[in-house]
């Protein structure tokens, strides 16, 4: 039974993936929290809320695997477990075949170098008291302490340049930048270690439409240029449609459908996927420009 579900939910073409193509693999990941409670509660035991209820996935190197779902479906908890920022209750997690859940200390840090995260809120995720150069260069200081100062600075300036910010950004503070520029800073910070996997959790949902489109296209360019694999979390099917190779639709802690993006968008198999697609407000008749 469990195996049947695993096979049907891994979705094409991952069922046919050879082990060497798989960058990240999770099996039956599960996480539950105590319901209610909070600071004033004295009920140490009580009903539990299952945020992620047995998710199995395989992310292929170079693809964009998108997880889409409404608030509370468990997509953010899943993303954090995949980076081991949250410990799963059970299940297995492998990165390039290595068991992430058994690692600790320096071995885990070495793996983390390969996996970085881009956050939703570019206003909350950057330390307001640090200069942009320090924010973006900090991962180098942690993971490559052996590098000379000048080399760190050169790499920092280069990655900032690549995401579209000039060298004058180095000495400035986050508050001096717009939302779109801050998200570029977050992307630069995530990419400076040249990771293999980037987990992007709602990277454009706090941005304006015109700026969000810029960031989505930048992410796609960087993917090709640096050979990145994305795990892309979003509540928005239109946004996911722009970037995804495969789409997993998540509801109440489970994947209800996984498949190639075109297939999920055009021939959804699950009723909930159809409901989500049907609720997207459509433009009357797409103006294509002249």
């Amino acid at each position: 039974m469990a195996n049947d579900r695993t096979a049907s939910l891994t979705g094409d073409p991952s069922a046919a993936l050879s082990p060497s193509e798989i960058l990240l693999e999770a099996r039956e990941l599960r996480k539950s929290y105590r319901r209610g409670g909070g600071v004033f509660s004295n009920s140490a035991k009580g009903p539990r809320f299952t945020a992620v209820d047995g998710v199995t996935l395989a992310v292929k190197g170079g693809e964009t695997f998108a997880v889409v779902g409404e608030s509370g479906c468990g997509k953010t908890t899943l993303a954090r477990m995949l980076l081991r920022l949250i410990e799963p209750d059970s299940g297995s997690l492998r990165f390039e075949g290595r068991d992430l859940l058994r690692l600790s200390g320096s071995a885990l840090r070495a793996e983390r170098r390969q996996m970085q995260m881009v956050f939703q809120d570019p206003f909350a995720s950057l330390d307001p008291r640090m200069r942009v150069g320090e924010i973006v260069g900090e991962p180098l200081a942690i993971h490559h302490a052996e590098l000379r100062q000048t080399e760190k600075q050169e790499r920092t300036a280069a990655i900032l340049e690549r995401v579209g910010l000039g060298a004058d950004a180095l000495k400035r503070y986050p508050h001096e930048f717009s939302g779109g520029q801050r998200q570029r800073i977050g992307i630069a910070r995530a990419l400076i270690l040249r990771p293999k996997l980037v987990v992007a959790d709602e990277p454009v949902s706090a941005l304006d439409v015109s700026v969000g489109a810029q960031v989505l296209l930048l992410l796609k360019e960087l993917q090709t240029e640096f050979g990145l694999t994305y795990l892309f979390i979003s509540h928005s099917l239109p946004v996911v449609a722009q970037v995804a190779t495969r789409i997993a639709v998540m509801r109440a802690g489970r994947f209800v459908e996984v498949g190639l993006a075109d297939q999920v968008l055009q021939e959804p198999k699950d009723a909930y996927t159809r409901e989500l697609l049907g609720a997207v407000p459509a433009l009357p008749c797409r103006w294509s420009g002249s």
Binding site: E70, S71, S178, G179, G180, Q181, D208, V209, S210, V211, G212, A213, Q214, L216, L217, H235, S236, L237, P238, V239, A241, Q242, A261, D262, L265, E275, L276, L277, A279, V280, P281, A282, L283, P284, C285, R286, W287, S288, G289
Partner: protein, 342 residues
């Protein structure tokens, strides 16, 4: 026919360290009873500041210019009429009032009573320590005296029922945190409409909600507008949402309306390069068609001398920088602030 709301040259100025800025710059718009106008813009376009001006909720120190008439515009007489002339109600033609000339005391009758507002985040605009019903009752009592306690309670439950809240009697006894996001927004709508306003200003009312819930709320607002002949000013950044709720749409950029017209016409045949760019930058379910607008929205303290969109515009001409273009007529009821419109 007299529009319900008729704003002409409405301007809001705010003091900053760099001098006065104009988040709302000579905006003219009108809304008829039962009509819905979508106001589209990105952050910093001035759309929320415009809504706050119409609600008399501008931050302290703000300066308001122009006129915004609610109801029949006073003609001839030099002095604009004031809310105190409400006695004229019932004498055939209701007296209008210029919202830009109201005193705070006069606002109290207008706000909630004649114009009501629904905000983006229902959790932060509801009182967390007050039951839903009690909050709605408060809105009713503020505008109608002489009702018995029993009547007020009954009206509050009816208001929830009208907003399609299931089990309204039970919900009235609950606190905001006990309701889901969608139910909270329904409760907000119930509260906004409880005192029978003629105009509803909805500022991104579905942005914080899931798409499936968003659809329900949009349907609800549409139904209420028709049933109650409400004027609706719907503020959003989402062109897809506008297509669903608005009869007409006005697009704002850097404080000014840059395009206005029937929704289907503006979205299918946009005339301003910014509206065109916004449409191409809006993700849809279609893949591979996304094309962003370069650059970012200008700071209000450093607006270009001519068209505010000129620095980002791929169709710019020499005369774009000389003066701010006027709104030009593109079709019978479709205008755009661009020199390319002939």
């Amino acid at each position: 026919m007299t529009p319900l709301l008729d704003a002409c040259g409405l301007t809001v100025e705010l003091p900053t360290a760099a001098g006065w800025v104009r988040p709302v710059n000579e905006v003219s718009l009108s809304i008829a009873a039962g009509e819905s106008l979508g106001l589209v813009g990105e952050s910093g376009s001035g759309k929320t500041m415009l809504a706050l001006a119409l609600m008399g909720l501008l931050p302290a120190g703000a300066r308001v210019g122009g006129e915004a008439w609610l109801g029949q515009k006073a003609t001839g007489a030099g002095e604009p009429k004031r809310a105190s002339e409400k006695s004229a109600l019932g004498s055939g033609v209701p007296a209008g009032k210029d919202l830009c000339a109201l005193k705070e005391r006069e606002w109290r009758a207008v706000r909630g009573g004649e114009i009501a507002m629904v905000f983006q985040e229902p959790m932060t605009s509801l009182n967390p320590v007050m039951r839903i019903g009690a909050q709605i009752e408060e809105a009713i009592r503020a505008h109608e005296s002489g009702l018995t306690e029993k009547d007020v309670k009954k009206r509050a439950v009816e208001a929830l029922e009208r907003a399609a809240v299931t089990e309204p009697g039970i919900r009235a006894q609950q606190f905001p945190h006990q309701l889901s996001g969608g139910l909270r927004q329904r409760a907000m709508i119930a509260m906004a409409l409880a005192a029978g306003p003629r105009l509803l200003v909805a500022d991104e009312p579905t942005t914080a909600l899931d798409v499936t819930v968003q659809k329900q709320i949009l349907d609800l607002l549409d139904r209420l507008r028709r049933e109650l002949r409400l004027g609706l000013l719907f503020i959003t950044h989402d062109l897809g949402v506008v297509a669903q709720v608005a009869d007409r749409v006005a697009v704002m950029y850097a404080g000014r309306i840059i395009e206005e017209g029937p929704t289907l016409e503006v979205l299918a045949a946009p005339r301003h390069p910014y509206t065109q760019g916004l449409l191409k930058a809006s993700p849809t379910l279609e893949r591979g068609k996304l094309s962003p607008i370069p650059g970012s929205v200008p700071q209000l303290t450093a607006l270009p001398p001519g068209c505010a969109f000129e620095p980002r515009c791929s169709l710019r001409r020499a005369d774009c920088v000389t003066a701010v273009p006027e709104l030009r007529r593109a079709e019978a009821s479709h205008t755009a602030r661009c020199v390319l419109v002939q």
